[in-house]
């Protein structure tokens, strides 16, 4: 079905330099509405950089990125509008420590989406129920376990009703026993049809959820394909090597 749906994210010939070092080399890919794309690759291959370029947390030096019809690479485009539509979940959760869980969820709703407090809180509480931590609404993030924090962070993203969510290694900072609860939340999201771009080392998740896997190395997309194809018979040596190391 996704084959026919419209393009949500499209990156064309994207290059990015840190000084003389080229972190992204002519990267092109696209994500359709409702699609779940998993990006994998060795450390330093540019996974975070491409993800962060999508909502312009990093500016790109060449190429274009179109998100929901808006040109992110155009300085004249109001980037806040783009970011409202595209959620992001970080490896380090980045909850606001001076706000309660509930306030973490309502802040952007009231400030950005201009919802009134009642409405925002209602939405927030529903989402907290959905990610399974309604009882922690009044707690401060410091009192929560890593897994709980990351689930709050996902709920915080959802509260903005984004059209897509970017995940940058959402489970890498978690103790092993907490990885499952976060992946479950993400799987539910996927089932509900959320468009997702996920950088992760969780190959099980990639196999189960991804519509497409993108393999990056040295700032380039080396291989792209269905999880079945990628995990069973990758075309490139580098991908084979990577899989042999990680699996």
């Amino acid at each position: 079905m996704q084959e026919n749906s419209r393009l949500m994210i499209e990156a064309r010939e994207v290059s990015k330099f840190y000084g003389a070092f080229q972190a992204l080399k002519n990267v092109s890919f696209s994500v359709r509405d409702g699609e779940k794309v998993v990006i994998i690759g060795p450390s330093g291959s540019g996974k975070s950089t491409i993800l962060r370029s999508i909502n312009r947390l990093e500016t790109i030096d060449r190429g274009t990125i179109i998100v929901d019809g808006m040109d992110v690479s155009d300085p004249k485009v109001d980037i806040c509008k783009v970011r409202e539509e595209i959620g992001m979940v970080f490896q380090s959760f980045n909850l606001f420590p001076h706000k309660t869980v509930l306030e973490n969820l309502t802040l952007a709703q009231t400030v950005v989406r201009k919802r009134n407090r009642r409405e925002a809180e209602q939405i927030a509480l529903e989402l907290l129920k959905k990610v399974g931590i309604a009882e922690k609404a009044a707690a401060y993030p410091a009192k929560l376990s890593g897994g709980q924090q990351q689930r709050v962070a996902i709920a915080r993203s959802l509260a903005m009703n984004p059209k897509a969510i970017l995940f940058d290694e959402p489970t890498s900072a978690l103790d092993p026993e907490m990885i499952g609860e976060v992946l479950d939340v993400m799987k539910n999201l996927a089932q509900e049809g959320m468009t997702m771009v996920v950088v992760t080392h969780e190959m099980g998740f990639a196999r189960e959820v991804a519509d497409r896997v993108i393999f990056m190395d040295h700032g380039q997309i080396v291989e792209e394909g269905t999880p079945e194809h990628f995990f069973t018979s990758p075309d490139h040596e580098r991908a084979k090597l990577f899989l042999s190391q990680i699996l």
Binding site: N55, C80, R83, M88, F90, S92, V112, A153
Partner: protein, 262 residues
Amino acid sequence: MSKNPTSHTPIDVGDGAAIPNKNDAGLFTAWRIAFFGAIFVSLYLAFGKSDPYYEIFKFVPDGILVTFKVTFGAILLATCIGLITGLGRISDNRFINGAASLYVEVIRGIPLLVQIFYIYYALGRFVKIPDMLSAIIAMAVCYGAYMGEVFRAGIQSIPKGQMEAALSLGMSRGQAMRQVILPQAFKVVLPPIGNEFIALLKDSSLVSILAVSDLLRRGREYASETFSYFETYTVIALIYLVMTLFFSKLIGIMEERLNAGK
């Protein structure tokens, strides 16, 4: 007296906080001896030796009030200036950044005494404002530069991810600063602001050269008429000591509360 090297030394060694650390037993005991000792000596001088100490203690209290006014006024204004300067110092705008940096560098390069004098009289040339306010502005302009560095350091101590999380929720840079970064930074800068307050309380004695009748000025006036320099300066020193020790303790307690409340 000195700015602490915050980043260019491998080991951070400063000349210590004005606010004694609870864990520093030596200083803690010293605080107690100094504070209660100063109060005891004051009382003894005022009531035991009466002349001229009693007279001096009667003469200077309105000076204490002026010292407070100048200190509180200046710290408030300096905090505002410091916030703006701190934001300027981390701004991406080259002009704003340059202006803020230049302000910091120039102010920190000139003795407070010279600056206070200069700002006070220069101000008088252009606008008619009362002397107390001029003195407060002069102090605040000087301390604003130091406060600017406090705010800069405070803001930069907040993890980058906080700003990124706020931005990726669609907030503008300004919204993120106000809603997410500054509330956290304020907690971080509170102890150093407490330190600046103590330093300012002491440095406010410099406004006595501006003919503002602060504690020191009042003492000098008394001494210049009665010629009891030693007695007067002893009293002045005692009063300053009690004040700074009192406030440093108070700030220390407030900080603890704040940390406990977290």
